[in-house]
Symmetry: C2
Subunit: 102 residues, 2 copies
């Protein structure tokens, strides 16, 4: 099974913690995916707290609604870089980001 497929499955329904055994991911692979999922969730949370639609957030960060949706869905084509930049744009601090990742 290729990595893309794995990540795509990983975020669908399978709650963090059981992902690894089910898909036989290495420790590093699952840590990486868990980090991305944590950032995804924080993004949605932050956006909602600010009462923004995906389209509005997209405009603010010069992206598109579809990409925001993919970020929040933990889509494997989304980089950590983009997630981090978006969260910073939403006012998150390095410290909070650090805590989110852990």
């Amino acid at each position: 099974m290729d990595k893309r497929k794995k990540e795509k499955l990983a975020k669908k329904g399978w709650k963090v913690g059981s992902v690894a055994e089910f898909l036989d991911l290495s420790a590093e692979e699952s840590a990486y995916i868990e980090m991305k999922l944590a950032l995804s969730e924080k993004l949605r949370e932050r956006r909602r707290r600010k009462k923004l639609t995906q389209a509005e957030l997209a405009k603010a960060i010069e992206s598109s609604q579809s990409r925001v949706a993919k970020m929040e869905a933990g889509d494997p084509t989304v980089s950590i870089d983009l997630l981090v930049k978006s969260l910073l744009a939403l006012g998150m601090s390095k410290k909070e980001l650090g805590r989110t990742i852990s």
Copy 2:
């Protein structure tokens, strides 16, 4: 001044903290760069602690010596994703990564 140039300069000699004012980066931009630099430094530190050459590390993570050098130099063409994956491969935990970023 374009972003590439900024980041390239940012890592050369100008110690974190004065970067922002000197290059008039936004708060988010400098936070992003500071995070990358922190990860870069950790990578070099971890690699050296394990007594690995850049070439050896490169082989372990299926990359190249030149890319490892660029990672450690904070080169703007290096993504956070690659830095994170490399650090995970070196045995770093999510928790440590979180602390590094903060």
